[in-house]
């Protein structure tokens, strides 16, 4: 061991020794070949490394710094006054307008995520399964058609949706065929949750029960938290599902084509019906893809900005306000850059926590991937080296 000391990663000489049973001091070999390899490797990685530092890590750290200052938007933020966590305190600590705005934005976005992520994942999976069938005429056409919304510009789609969802637009005309008097979509701030509750006769939205109206969290009452997405937000939700399902369909399609046909055939031989094959063969095989799709969906939906910016700017009655748009508005319109970046970092924490929760829920339950404490205990029991 005294030889290998100060020589670099301990496992390298160890591996060499066990592999050839050779006792040559590994020093020369390492510095001769491996050393230059490492240097070359670092050299090759350096441009990417510098770029990542400059354009990714740097801006993130700078934004974190801005969120701790009262930077006014003039000149470099490095010279701004450090004010500690005051921006975060304004947003989270005391009941005021800023906190209510953030809470409203979080509530809106929460319902947006809760509806968009499951629906777009299921829709993408259904579309992918439909296209993946062996005997399907015009496969290429359907693939293109389903993927088309994803490659069209958000601006164009948003404008089309604005027309579709006007009071006398196409959506309401179709609803009228069924005798439904459609709402004035983008001007309707009523929460769907409230509509359902009052429709069932459970609560009176004009006079909510005291236990809901009198308690509040982050400045807005429990009753406001259960409002659900507004009618206007539902139009945005439809838009999001329609545009992103195509992208995720493509990812699912790639994964479906990776499932070996003989596994499916084996299941058929075993007498599994279509549902059983889907439930016990296809779905488990898709698990890593599912994880990817849901993670991408979660991150994308928590950051929704462009549709809000283009279509509603948070209107009506702030029911389409989202944290990303609120952050933009606070920074650019109000000149409160510190508060705006603080909102962005609160959103960042939420996304991280959500992804971790999702990772935990979807973790592999195979024995090799058991949590470390169980692995260790089992290792101790069997005496094997894990």
């Amino acid at each position: 061991m005294s030889i290998t000391q100060g020589m670099g990663p301990a496992q390298v000489p160890a591996a060499v020794a066990t592999a050839d049973g050779d006792v040559t001091p590994p020093k020369r070999r390492r510095s001769g070949i491996r050393g230059s390899e490492n240097r070359a490797g670092l050299l090759f990685a350096a441009p990417a490394f510098v770029l990542i530092l400059l354009f990714l890590i740097g801006p993130v750290l700078l934004a974190l710094w801005v969120s701790l200052t009262d930077w006014s938007g003039k000149g470099s933020p490095l010279g701004a006054n450090f004010i500690g966590a005051k921006n975060y305190d304004t947003l989270l600590g005391s009941p005021n307008l800023q906190q209510r705005d953030l809470a409203t934005a979080l509530r809106n976005n929460m319902y947006y995520v809760l509806l968009v992520v499951p629906l777009q994942t299921v829709l993408a999976l259904i579309l992918a399964m439909a296209i993946n069938r062996q005997r399907l005429r015009g496969k290429g056409f359907f693939r293109t058609a389903f993927y088309f919304p994803s490659v069209t510009s958000t601006v164009a789609i948003s404008v089309v949706f604005l027309f579709l969802f006007t009071a006398s637009g196409a959506v309401n005309s179709v609803l009228a065929w069924f005798g439904i008097n459609g709402p004035n979509w983008f001007a309707d701030p009523r929460g769907v949750g409230h509509l359902i509750l009052s429709g069932l006769g459970l609560v009176d939205t004009a006079n909510p029960p005291a236990w809901l109206a009198d308690h509040d969290f982050l400045g807005i009452s429990w009753f406001q938290w259960i409002a659900g997405p507004s009618v206007a937000m539902c139009a945005l939700i439809t838009l999001a599902i329609w545009t992103t399902a195509g992208t995720f369909m493509l990812i699912f399609l790639a994964a479906l084509q990776d499932i070996p046909a003989d596994v499916e055939e084996a299941a058929m031989v075993d007498g599994a019906n279509r549902w059983q094959r889907f439930r016990n063969v296809t779905l488990p095989a898709l698990k890593p893809t599912m994880f990817l799709v849901i993670t991408l969906g979660l991150i994308g939906t928590w950051q929704v900005f462009d549709q809000v910016y283009l279509m509603s700017q948070g209107k009506p009655s702030k029911t389409t306000l989202t944290p990303a748009y609120l952050s933009f508005q606070t920074s650019f319109q109000d000149g409160k850059w510190g508060q705006g970046t603080a909102i962005a970092f609160i959103l960042f924490v939420i996304i991280i926590v959500m992804t971790l929760i999702q990772r935990f829920v979807m973790r592999d339950r195979d024995s090799s991937r058991k949590p470390w404490w169980r692995r260790r205990r089992e290792a101790a029991l069997t005496g094997s080296d894990v």
């Binding site: 350096a46 510098v50 530092l53 006014s72 000149g75 470099s76 009655s317 000149g335």
Partner: protein, 439 residues
């Protein structure tokens, strides 16, 4: 270990380099920001050099050899063309060049310019943003140095006065007035004598016009329209001094109550209810017999609804006979970091001169911001008298710094005015405004 060490060293070196680069950038902008006198000195030296080269001669005016950058939010090609032409004319008179750029998103582009120290020399500033920019030190407070400073309407000067300093020159102005569809008016059996001058009359004619096909009155449910009623009732969100917050004044609640009653009576409808993007569209296509909008609607009606017959009247007065409207305006902001402050001021003086403002009025329908142009304007555009008269009793938008979110909140509450308690809305506005200004 040595591999580790090399790696650490490389990481360290790269990190240090990045930091250095960042520091270099920041110190650049810092000098760009603080040492502007030096920069200005060199530029003026360069200016005089070009001046003498051009044979401009002995005492070249302060404006010489400048390369000004102008960023503005354009209302259309008419404005862009007129502005480019005027800028070229000023440039050739003063041995300078002006790069005229129409912004995609003015606020955002300006914000990027301010933070990187590359803001344009001259730019449009909305009355709602002036306090934010002034407070951050982005604006050159040149207002009182202009030779025509006393020519601007007082209410416009107030709009661009922050903390007692007149920051920038009003570009032009717009006021709200009452648009009346004359065909629907006649069909309802109304005559010129019925044009409303009081709230009661407004409610009465709106009810008469509110027949099947069209709403009596359509007003966007936002403070930029509804606030006019507050002014007509002798109050406003802030007192005349511009700083005392009077949002929860019972007079304001009474005014909002009047608007609410018109909504609940069904005579006032929002543009969205009439399937329109804004009140002008509802009025243009005949879905509303009356609307309260500004003079920008004149151009829109001319281009989109050329056959519509309409007339414009001053807004009705409140119960106490107080007239009231709102005035909207932009100013010619000059960047605090400009290298050519004197030339920029000369440019603004040229752009706000009586003749130039009349040229703009003809080109793209704005109303001059200087009193000396009033007579000329009225003789040429007699029908626009209600807008010009309005400036005498109008109030500008509230220009306190950092209140955009408060006003946005007020707007969102106004969208639900039909179901809300006016006093409760105003109490929350009072509380939020007080917190925003105090904190």
């Amino acid at each position: 270990m040595s591999v580790h060490r090399t790696r650490t060293a490389v990481i360290g070196a790269v990190g240090a380099l990045t930091l250095l680069a960042a520091a270099a950038c920041s110190s650049d902008t810092a000098t760009g920001g603080t040492s502007s006198p030096a920069a200005a000195a060199t530029s003026s030296a360069a200016g005089s050099a070009t001046g003498s080269e051009g044979g401009g001669g002995s005492e070249a005016p302060a404006a010489g050899g400048a390369q000004l950058q102008l960023l503005f939010g354009s209302s259309g090609t008419a404005e862009t063309d007129a502005l480019t032409e005027a800028a070229d004319a000023w440039g050739s008179e003063n041995d300078s060049t002006v790069e005229v750029t129409a912004a995609q998103d003015l606020t955002q582009q300006l914000a990027q310019g301010f933070s990187s120290g590359t803001a344009p020399d001259v730019f449009y500033v909305g009355a709602d943003q002036v306090a934010n920019y002034a407070k951050a030190g982005n604006l050159l407070p040149y207002g009182d140095e202009l030779s025509n400073a006393d020519d601007f309407y007082p209410v416009l000067k107030d709009a661009f006065t922050y903390d007692g300093t007149f920051y920038c020159a009003p570009k032009d102005m717009s006021t709200l007035a009452l648009f009346i569809n004359t065909d629907l008016w006649a069909a309802a059996g109304l005559t010129d004598a019925d044009i409303p001058t009081t709230w009661d009359q407004l409610a009465t004619v709106a009810a008469k016009l509110n027949t099947g096909g069209a709403a009596g009155l359509s007003v966007a449910p936002e403070r930029d329209r509804v606030d006019a009623f507050l002014v007509q009732n002798g109050s406003y969100l802030v007192a005349e001094d511009g700083t005392t917050i009077t949002a929860n004044d019972p007079k304001n609640a009474e005014a909002l109550g009047f608007v609410k009653k018109m909504i609940t009576d069904g005579v006032l409808k929002t543009p969205a209810e009439l399937d329109s993007g804004w009140a002008g569209e509802a009025f243009g296509k005949g879905a509303a017999a009356m609307t309260i909008e500004g003079n920008w609607l004149l151009g829109a009606l001319k281009s989109d609804y050329p056959d519509l017959k309409y007339t414009v009247a001053e807004l009705p007065a409140g119960p106490t006979g107080t007239k009231g409207t709102l005035v909207f305006t932009n100013c010619w902001g000059i960047s605090a970091t400009t290298q050519f402050p004197e030339q920029a001021k000369s440019f603004v003086e040229y752009m706000t001169s009586t003749d130039q403002q009349m040229a703009f009025a003809t080109a793209f329908g704005v109303i001059p911001s200087v009193e000396s142009a009033q007579a000329d304007y009225l003789s040429e555009f007699a029908a626009n008298e209600p807008f010009v008269k309005g400036v005498d009793y109008a109030r500008g938008v509230v220009n306190l710094p950092g209140i955009t979110d408060v006003l946005a909140d007020f707007n969102s509450q106004l969208q639900d005015l039909a179901n809300a308690d006016p006093q409760a809305i105003l109490d929350s506005v009072q509380e939020n405004l007080t917190a925003a200004v105090g904190g």
